[in-house]
Symmetry: C2
Subunit: 413 residues, 2 copies
């Protein structure tokens, strides 16, 4: 119904308000006169809106800029540290919380080992505790946490009034409405997304790529997941399943095979590859993300057979990436998960093979880069998701004034 809503004068103010906030954020420091030039709006209007933002403390006047032949402009600065954002990551082996400022800069980092897939209740308890600690830390800095982003290693499942892990791959989470449970205990805006999509979002926002409209992020870990950015936004599909490339097939598959066999998750998943290499995963690499180094080591020190297995892995990954590129036609491909730890030699094999599977010149010259945030990728992406929503609709800032945290009351069963 909202779609068919007519606009009135106050909607203009809302829209222009958000526009100026975005521009102030983007430019960090800018004058009213420049804002007027940038937007085509008149200086009186700019002044009126800027006054509101000054009142709210999101920007401040920091003195004068250089004259360009007349009166010197007053410089406005976006206050990156006005508030904090929480990014929560339900990883495979850890639950982590990042507190970031409004520029995606890490302020606090907390991480606790946890088997999220196996122990949902315990995981939620850990998340609550982390959140509580994060809010305490924020308070110590006299800052408020204005929003919470949550990353999960699963497509987002919309069950009833809540978002949660997908029961098809997280059966023990079935019936646990994660977003609802958290909402009952934290009264700030909450957003939830798949980890690969958040990884893509982090790359889009924090590595000089905000101008890219279409971006493909491939996370190779225990399986293969894609984060898809279309028109600068996460694309999740009709049921949150878009980009679940681990559940696609490459080989000459038999009709009677189960869809959990022989898919890209099993062909490309790092644990399967390490198992095939008979590499023991010891205490040295408790985090899946760090198992790329094991593969690198095996390749560098192994015999011909070992190298063949690695080559086969890279071959399949190259095919999967080429296929995904033709499907989504991105401007940039970023590979995350274990890939950044594979080392230059293996990476160059990958970079060399992909174009061999592409007919289109445009795609052959699409850059392939490594993700840069390691184990913090998802948490940072989760914080970024909150920031994105807030720069989009500034009213959320205003609503999120008073947060009551009642974490102590939490207990399941």
């Amino acid at each position: 119904m909202k779609v068919f809503q007519g606009l009135d004068a106050s909607d203009i103010r809302l829209s222009n308000n958000n526009l100026l906030l975005r521009l102030l954020w983007q430019h960090q420091v800018i004058s009213r006169a420049d804002l007027a030039r940038l937007t085509g709006m008149s200086r009186p209007s700019i002044s009126a809106i800027v006054a509101e933002h000054l009142d709210l403390g999101l920007i401040s006047e920091i003195g004068h800029g250089e004259s360009s032949g007349g009166r010197r402009p007053v410089l406005l600065r976006f206050e990156d540290d006005a508030h904090l954002i929480a990014g929560l990551d339900f990883g495979a082996s850890h639950i982590s919380l990042m507190l970031s400022n409004l520029r995606g800069q890490e302020v606090e980092w907390l991480s606790v080992p946890a088997q999220t897939r196996e122990f949902p209740e315990q995981s939620i308890q850990i998340a609550m505790d982390l959140l509580k600690e994060g809010i305490t830390l924020a308070r110590r800095r006299s800052r408020k946490v204005i929003g919470l982003g949550i990353g999960v290693p699963s497509p987002i499942y919309s069950g009833g009034d809540s978002l949660s892990m997908h029961p098809a791959i997280h059966p023990k989470w079935a019936g646990l409405g994660l977003s609802r449970i958290l909402k009952e205990h934290v009264s700030i805006p909450i957003f939830m997304e798949n980890d690969a999509n958040l990884g893509a979002l982090a790359e889009l926002w924090w590595t000089e790529r905000q101008s890219r409209k279409h971006l493909l992020y491939l996370k190779v870990a225990s399986g293969l997941g894609a984060g898809i950015i279309i028109d600068g936004k996460i694309f999740a599909g009709a049921h949150g399943l878009a980009g679940e490339l681990g559940h696609t097939f490459l080989g000459d598959r038999k009709i009677d095979q189960s869809p959990t066999q022989d898919n890209l998750n099993s062909m490309i998943g790092i644990n399967n590859v390490l198992a095939e290499l008979k590499v023991k995963v010891g205490q040295r690499h408790p985090k899946i993300l760090h198992r790329g180094a094991l593969l690198k080591e095996a390749f560098e020190t192994g015999d011909a057979n070992t190298q063949d297995i690695v080559r086969k892995f890279i071959h399949r990954l190259a095919l999967a990436i080429a296929n995904a590129m033709v499907s989504f036609d991105p401007e940039l491909v970023i590979v995350g998960g274990v890939v950044p730890d594979l080392g230059e030699e293996i990476l160059n094999m990958l970079r060399a093979e992909i174009p061999r599977h592409l007919v289109w010149p445009e795609l052959r010259s699409v850059p392939l880069e490594c993700s840069r945030f390691g184990e913090k990728q998802t948490a940072l992406g989760a914080a970024t998701l909150v920031l994105e929503k807030m720069l989009e609709d500034f009213e959320l800032f205003c609503e999120a004034r008073e947060q009551r945290v009642r974490l102590k009351e939490f207990s399941l069963g």
Copy 2:
């Protein structure tokens, strides 16, 4: 730069103007009072905007509706036949022109055999002639053609100031800026798109599916192409290559194979399948689209070996569709090209196999339907593209008042 433009009062009017036009179009017949309720706008505002549309002749008052306990409402009707739209299809074997009204209803249909891939200049000449004839026919009905949509069997290539066929797969079209050439001779708004995307658009708009946000259209003809609708809009990717699924790979591909071998185009393309079946394609089936019937016939009358080949074809197609579904996560899948002519038996084989490759329950219950517009699919989609643009930005209607057609002057080299 336009992105950062601030809004002012006249933008509200523009937006509300378009909103009402869309609603009038959707409802076909509706009163001012209902429009006010639907949009949340006040009745005086509605009246003011409706008056403008009445002036332009896009709607008319057609009497009174039923009373709901008070004064009877004046009913407004969208005038579907106020203008005509041209949809031009550069097919593999034919060039066709559809004139449609503003409801996607066919008014004229012209089609001429042509080898577009081989003879670009001749094809353009044919298209010009068709367009000229179409405009003449429109004039005879005292109607104006207010926009031209063009469908091409190629990704759209943006070279310089023009859109054209992609030179990588249409080498003879290299350097021919199709949209520019046509723009020089027809002074109405022109839009161009890939045929699979237009097929998807036609399905979205004209078969009670306008509420679907994400839709996947798969055209199986000489190759495999996907039309992708995301959020109700065509998704073409960064270089117009999104959904070129014929250039992805399924089998256990060798690293040194060329990307033009062993891809889905060759595995699923109808001509290759018919060749494997040793079916002679005679005069009976000059159009690729109609070769589905040959496959059906072969399956129904053939020996075990023949049936196996058809089964293998369906198996591969099922895998390709399942993979595409996991990638794009649509609400609905529509198969076009030769598939609608394969008959119920083969279609049921396809419908039965796809869910076997899907883990996600949501995807297993996504409907698979056949496209319904046959050889007119692309031309209808092209006309639809124009309509979409115009309902989105009504100003295009106003600009397209005076069309000067100088088709006679056209000649290449």
